[in-house]
Symmetry: C2
Subunit: 478 residues, 2 copies
Amino acid sequence: MKNKESYHMDLETFRQNGHAAVDWVVDYLKNIESYPVLSQVKPGDIRKQLPVCAPGQGESFEAMLKDVQEIVLPGITHWQSPGFFAFFPGNSSAPAILGEILSAGLSVQGMLWATSPACTEVETHVMDWLVKMLGLPEKFMSHTEGGGVIQHSASDATLCALLAARERVSNGEVNKKGGNGKLIAYTSAQAHSSIEKGCMIAGIGTENLRLIDVDENFRMRPEALDAQIQKDKADGLIPFFVCTCVGTTSSLALDPVAEMVRVTKKYGLWLHVDAAMAGTAAICPEFRFINEGVEDADSYTFNPHKWMFTNFDCNAFYVADRSALINALSILPEYLKNEATNAGAVFDYRDWHIPLGRRFRALKLWFVIRHYGVEGLQYHIRQHVDMAQQFKQWVIDSDAFELVVDNPLNLICFRHKDGDEVSESIMAEVNQSGEAYMTHTKLNGLYTIRMSIGQTRTEMRHVEKAWQLLKEASDRFG
Amino acid sequence: MKNKESYHMDLETFRQNGHAAVDWVVDYLKNIESYPVLSQVKPGDIRKQLPVCAPGQGESFEAMLKDVQEIVLPGITHWQSPGFFAFFPGNSSAPAILGEILSAGLSVQGMLWATSPACTEVETHVMDWLVKMLGLPEKFMSHTEGGGVIQHSASDATLCALLAARERVSNGEVNKKGGNGKLIAYTSAQAHSSIEKGCMIAGIGTENLRLIDVDENFRMRPEALDAQIQKDKADGLIPFFVCTCVGTTSSLALDPVAEMVRVTKKYGLWLHVDAAMAGTAAICPEFRFINEGVEDADSYTFNPHKWMFTNFDCNAFYVADRSALINALSILPEYLKNEATNAGAVFDYRDWHIPLGRRFRALKLWFVIRHYGVEGLQYHIRQHVDMAQQFKQWVIDSDAFELVVDNPLNLICFRHKDGDEVSESIMAEVNQSGEAYMTHTKLNGLYTIRMSIGQTRTEMRHVEKAWQLLKEASDRFG
């Protein structure tokens, strides 16, 4: 038998198309301010332009690129627009995209050290770099009993922390016999929905997740946590896990980790720190106060794919005791056995997370850190915080708007003084303009607009424009 | 405040570097046969070449590319080498890489329809295409009560199926109250380790996973399944979930799905079909027999990132009743509420899997299908199967080797007639040559070499070379 023909793209055509794809990306980023930040299409608008069936014969890359331009682009909400102030940023950068190109080209699957040693070792190495860059405790480094791993998302990381804690407290019994409905987890009433989702997935149950009361700055109250744990213990339940937030989703509230530690240590609970968004700030020494107490945490996570210029997906997850994590997740079937694994000389990252397979995601993270250097990352983080703090001052000085809660970093929560309906109309109007995109939350039951500043290309003029749009809308609705 | 400087890569430099990255990938693929398939480095070899600390100042992309070439490349096990016959393929292709480039450039996060409608709609559309392409039941299409979603891996997909089944049988009670230790899951004794891992994660417990006996072809025995379910029911336990394998990992054994269905229907159990590797074969009508019975399954998964030329990660997961899946995984906090979601007019894929965030992975899948067309995909799948069947015949005709089990697709399981030790030495020798890479399993307790043929660039000459290497090693060790 001989290959008489092939449907693969020949390499020189691939080279040309690859250049065209890069050019498309560069032009997209060059023109990004010309697109409405929030996509204006209606449900079904994209699908109705696509053929009902897959093509029988192959098509040209030109045809695909044309469809991306004409069909896909109107259906994009531009996370990389400097006018993106919604949710939290999912920022990217040129070095991260270059890392993605090489990673896609190599297309290795690093489930085991042996299936591409560089995929594992570069990851371990860069995760160690980050520990020092963020001033995190040494116990999260790979030469200790801890270590770091790239996960898909903070949801995955938190789930893994929950599983490690579950197996530590049950001595491996839940993995064997299943849940018993008695394990109790704790988090702030302001915590991210992923904690609740994790408790569902892990068979803990949402009724066994205690949402602890917060103070006037939306920070979890340590004394409320302590009291709830005592109550649960008195009821014969088994407290085992606390997730504390360094930067909540609604308002970027910073739980007092050091005070949480005092409680979790008293009862021997696993303390997980979710710094998904705010964690990156610790690259700057002046913001490192957010990590006070983290030296006593059992696990920690933040997302370079949010505010550290690294394309999604790239979550950084650390544990102080990697054996607890591996015990919770490891299975070694015959077909995965190999010399390096048998010798115990290597990390096999498949045992550190939910999936078996994994991409070479460390490459983009390595490139981002090397391109910017620590000083470049610090510079841009400071710029974002400075812009947010300037915006905050405008809100404070404004007659129309008011601050809902103070925050020292890059998320400003505010509302119109005339209340929920006006605030909602103003935000809808700004988003409809296409020049900026913000999202809302509710704080103390009140409709609150979130101005989240962390997009790679956001400059002061974009923040000024957003403020101008808000004021204009206020003049109409307020 | 003004941006006095910026550490971002300017767009024209990015364009040049992007072209250089594409050129690097093209050259890598051009020269891929010159690298040893299995990396020859020792643990720590890569890390010791990297600086202990992150750089304070930024570095050039040239420096990074040089390090990729000199430090990373020796630590790569080349999944894209035509001599890669290990595990299962994780094949990629030019259109998939082009899709990754555009996806990285757009860098949208499609957690909600609203956060990039095209990310959701192209995905739904292409997942519908695949249903028809593979001859899967219409109930998996989005216009019915079912639907498809791209997951990170088959491990994630199986876990989600398990969770949907768990909540269906418990009427949402496990999500609320946690596991009860009474739910029983079933799979083949030859099933992938991800089923066991899923049972650990979901709080089912490995002792509550029954590994059902297989026949001489390593196919799950329906009567053994039936008997075990009856026994468990008699013991007051709650059978709820069966994972059946269309292509096991060790030997690509094809469970008789239609017979499994008869059992699961009798007891009202959720039937999940794991066709991670073999599923792609159904693109060819002559191999569609593997899906007999799938029309009655509750969920189904296969990996375009294994054998369908689509870069990892890209798992395809289907459910017949999407509300069961969404009920198991949905949480809607205030900060994610939006008009389209509230109206119920759209899919928000965050509710279909573990993570909240998601990349625009449909782009590469769309490009692969459009580049090859159905006929191109069929052609290459048939080539792979033909080569494997030719290899099988050589084994059958050989004096030195013997077939362990017959398989009609692209995985050939064989061993040396002189037993385990000789088989193991032969495989080690072949892998050490750098020209081919195979992995092993144990079948009936015997060391078995797996010849897995599905790499994008594998041609007959590569299979012939592997066979020659095996014979030479056999002459030395046998």
